[in-house]
Symmetry: C2
Subunit: 107 residues, 2 copies
DNA sequence: ACTGCATATGACGCTTGCGTTATATAACCC
DNA sequence: GGGTTATATAACGCAAGCGTCATATGCAGT
């Protein structure tokens, strides 16, 4: 989650959700959207890699990046945990707050 | 998500998952765990508040903080989106990578 | 081997953001 | 009102992170 606190890195991950891409493709895309250079993109990819968010495989002269789904399972589980725990601990005051909103459990 | 990129803030949110707490309780807890002062905690709470992650209500002399569940619905949906999209886009090459390849290229 | 492309790293400046201490604001209690 | 408690803000120093350009490394094609 630390690694996902940056908009560029979140965008990189979104791009990778569509399937694996080379470092160059990613650098170009993110570079166009955020106006940053290739080294900057490379560094973001390094952070994601070291955080275990993405995986990279050298493919000839190119390096292919891909999403590591476990990382997002973790994020999802954490977020849901907060939510579910909160739901479970509704007391009088919190109930009052919750009255006005729609509560929908799992899908 | 930007606001959740900090461990102190994530911890605050976890504490709030258990139910609402006063700023003082939170400051004490987080202060003990991370060794930071009351103003520092207050600032983190402000960031969370401005990001729409938590809600705060003055309760007499105390200010009660609580989790805003919609924020975590959003996080959860985002994470799941990445995962689901990724799953849907597995093709031959990616499957091969996912099956066997382990890349140990951090340095 | 040399050239060229793809990617990563080094060195460095600047901005951001976190931390601290000191102080303001506001409610409570006497 | 005066004092105490709870929380937020102000001012400021310092460290971390992100950006840049220049350069290294490694693979491919000739």
């Amino acid at each position: 989650m630390d690694a996902l606190g940056d908009p560029v890195r979140r965008r990189l991950v979104e791009l990778l959700a569509d399937g694996e891409r080379s470092a160059g493709q990613l650098a170009t895309a993110v570079g166009a959207e955020f106006g940053i250079s290739q080294p900057a993109a490379s560094r973001h990819l390094r952070v994601l890699r070291e955080a275990g968010v993405v995986d990279s495989v050298p493919q000839g002269a190119v390096r292919l990046y891909s999403v590591r789904p476990e990382a997002f399972d973790q994020v999802e589980a954490w977020a849901r945990g907060i939510r579910r725990f909160w739901d479970g601990h509704l007391d009088a005051l919190e109930t009052e707050i919750a009255r006005g909103r729609r509560s929908r459990d799992d899908d």
